[in-house]
Amino acid sequence: MSSTLTPDSELDTDTMRAVDIDRSAGDFSYPENHTYDAGYGLSEDTINYICDVKNDPDWVRDFRMRALKVFREKPMPTNWATKDLENINFDKIRYYLSSGSQPKRSWDDVPDDVKRTFERLGIPEQERKFLAGVEAQFDSEAAYSNIQKAVSDQGVIFVNSTEGLKQHADIFRPWFGKVIPTGDNKFSALNSAVFSGGSFIYVPKGVKVKHPLQAYFRINSENFGQFERTLIIADEGAELMYMEGCTAPKFETSTLHSAVVELVALKGAKIQYVTVQNWSNNVFNLVTKRGVAHEDAEVKWIDCNIGSRLTMKYPGVIMKGRRARGEVISIALANNGQHQDTGAKMVHAADETTSNVVSKSISVGTGRATYRGQVHIPKHLKGCKNNTECDALLISSHSRTDTYPAITVRGNQHATQHEASVSQVSAEQVFYMQQRGLSEAEAMSLSVNGFVNDLVREFPMEYSVELKRLIDLEMEGSVG
């Protein structure tokens, strides 16, 4: 076996496994048991079915119908995006499935098979108790929902989006679809037409939620697209961290995941939104995420993409008020057959707004990691700043990495800088570690961990531990 560090050699399987992470933990599925099933394909009937089952108000039905029209009219964005999108067969996707169970109030009421799912996902018992609330989505509906008393006592609303739009319409409706309009892109239109599940969170003025709110969810039906819709509103001076993580069982045919997440941070509010995405290798993960930051507010996206066949995700922040801040921290790992097409969109719409994008990607085997960024600073503003850094690490000779930023600056009152670099695990580094008794695989994994380490630290404690574990897990087994 030749060394991995000569360009023409292929990686040996040990090293391949070492730099890969354990995705098999998600390779399981339970018998499907759905009370509601909208069937394959998308039409007006599908929408009516979803509305009827969910008992949507009329305005939601109208909203969905309009969105369906927009979805049909919009072309695929293949003029800039990958042609792989053309492989999505919209007629072979089931747009709504539900077991019909109402959100549960306590852990004991959760069905056993759902509990087993969480067990396999490895949420420790202590953590469950520690976490403020668990909003876990099983297929389309939240199967389990537990809001810790302390949080609801503070006046925080943490429900699924269906409940949100019915019971809190006065807060929900004015913001719903305002950050990401239906026509933003083809997939936001699709989501607007068929959304189900997702969270609605409202944090009242001045409330600082101490513990992160968390949602775990899974896709558990073949060809089933998951279209959750999340809206988070942090009122003046409020603070919140929201975490979502997901694994999915492997299926033979492709599944589609197309979420829309809208964040609103009012004056002085802070929202951090953390994602760890580990879909199986056949999932199209096409997500639209955007936040609005008002005066002195801060919206921070922390994003880690490890799974899926194709991920297209460009979290954005519209900095609408003075001194607003936007930040995107992202890690992507693209393995064989995967394309992680991620990035960030920063729209400066007020004076003295600052944005920061730090993106690190690792391409392994035939994996492809792409960074796409947009920074926009219009001319009537003063004192806007942007910093963008993207670093890519290539592990094997067939790995691919691309960077496509677009930066528009108008006027002389601003400063932007963008930097990107591409590198390898250096031969010297690996040699040094081998000389100290580490195997090549260990050395490689240590280097990969080192490369993302400063970003992993940005993740909340539970996730950074989980992330490190994800990267380390298989490495241990591959040694010796």
Binding site: W80, S397, R400, T403, V409, R410, A420
Partner: protein, 440 residues
């Protein structure tokens, strides 16, 4: 497009270069070349105009792409300017002056290289140029204009440098554009054989203030171990529109430097594709643009590494005044197997007014291993502490800004690395700065 036959009655008819097929005189050219022009016209006619969804025209003001009114000037058109006064270089290996694509003067003082017109080149080296004198498409969005250029081509400068010939003095090519609605299609082809060396300065000017259109192309083909240093100085008037399409190809251990100095012209679009085909090859692309008034300067580049152990560097600098706009879209592409590539790309924008706009799209596509690639892009104003330093030394703010901006441009000028050319470029940039009044 049936107008491909020559109708003698039609020769005095004012032809739009965009709407009417050119009146070719194909009697004296090889059949392949005639055919290439015919099919280029067809390609041009069949290709759509760039649209809003074209990534390669992102941020560009497509309203400016209205060329219907431009006409190909007649042979005796365009007054010949004072040739002595327009020479930039004292000593040249060869000097050619064109007015609206018509050769009006040619002086050759170094006979170790061949400096030929299109007709001469086709006659003497037809076979050699069969692969070269084709549509100069860069693949960067201007394919319709590349086809138009080929179809409308009336003359060209073909520079052939034989093996081991090191040409010490530069070749100077001057292209004047004059007369209302005139269109010109300047073309420069530079071919260097093994270990040859040449420097070429191309100079684009306007005879007056009439609005003209220039769609030019340069092809730099450097053989093994050879070196080409190409500089294009654009000093057209502010009503002119310009497209310049460059293709660069460097063989084993070859060095090609391609520099664009854009000092005027109302609208300029440049495309430069460098194919780094040989091992040990070096490709450098430099540019400095001074954009003032309502100018738009739109530059697209590609550094395509096709073999291992090659090097490329790019530095594009823009200084923006008034309501000017600049667009830079660059891509470093490292092909499968092009390991051990070193490729760098930097775009820097200095914004000197409240209404200017800089768009940067630096890109990377890496398909190989063991590469060192990086790109960077910055946009900003002059730092307040730098101005303060000048002021504390008694230099007024306005002069300080002026000096700093000149220094900013100077970095590119020095990279041209030819003392005489660098000096004259610095002079031209300083003169242009003086003619623009920065807002403070």
């Amino acid at each position: 497009m049936s107008a491909t036959t020559l109708d003698p009655l039609q020769t005095s008819f004012v032809r739009s270069v965009f709407l009417d097929a050119p009146s070719w005189n194909h009697a004296a050219v090889p059949a392949w070349f005639a055919q290439s022009q015919l099919s280029a016209w067809e390609t041009f006619a069949n290709l759509p105009m760039p649209g809003r969804r074209d990534e390669s025209w992102r941020f560009a003001d497509l309203k400016l792409l209205d060329f219907d009114s431009y006409t190909a000037p007649a042979d005796d058109d365009g007054e010949v300017p004072d040739l002595e006064n327009t020479a930039l270089l004292e000593k040249t290996a060869a000097r050619l002056v064109f007015v609206n694509d018509r050769l009006v003067s040619r002086g050759i003082s170094d006979t170790s290289l061949q400096v030929l017109t299109l007709a001469e080149a086709l006659e003497r080296h037809g076979d050699l140029l069969k692969e070269t004198l084709t549509v100069p498409d860069t693949g960067l969005g201007g394919e319709k204009f590349a086809a138009l250029h080929q179809a409308q081509l009336r003359d060209a400068v073909v520079i052939l440098v034989p093996a081991k010939a090191e040409i010490s003095d530069p070749v100077e090519i001057v292209h004047w554009l004059g007369g209302a609605d005139s269109a010109a299609f300047p073309r420069t082809v530079i071919l260097t054989e093994r270990h040859a060396k040449v420097t070429v300065l191309e100079h684009h000017l306007s005879t007056g203030n009439d609005a003209g259109l220039s769609i030019g192309a340069a092809q730099l083909i450097a053989g093994e171990g050879s070196s080409i240093n190409y500089v294009l100085l654009n000093q057209r008037n502010e009503a002119d529109k310009n497209i310049h399409l460059s293709t660069v190809r460097g063989g084993r251990d070859a060095q090609v430097r391609h520099s664009l100095i854009n000092l005027a012209a109302g609208w300029t679009r440049t495309e430069c594709r460098s194919l780094v085909t040989g091992q040990g090859s070096r490709s450098e692309m430099f540019s400095v643009s001074l954009a003032a008034g309502s100018q738009e300067i739109d530059q697209r580049t590609l550094q395509d590494h096709m073999s291992p152990h090659s090097y490329s560097d790019l530095l594009y600098k823009n200084v923006l005044f008034d309501t000017a706009r600049t667009i830079f879209a660059g891509l470093i592409k490292v092909d499968d197997g092009a390991h051990f590539t070193d490729a760098y790309q930097k775009c820097r924008n200095l914004l000197l007014s409240e209404s200017c706009e800089a768009n940067s799209m630096p890109g990377l596509e890496i398909n190989a291993d063991q590469v060192k690639c990086s790109h960077g892009s910055t946009s900003g104003r002059i730092a307040e502490d730098e101005l303060f330093y000048f002021e504390s030394r008694g230099i007024p703010r306005a002069s300080a800004a002026h000096l700093i901006a000149l220094g900013f441009a100077q970095e590119v000028v020095e990279k041209v690395d030819h003392p005489e050319i660098s000096a004259l470029l610095a002079g031209a940039i300083a003169a242009r700065f003086d003619s623009i009044h920065p807002e403070g």
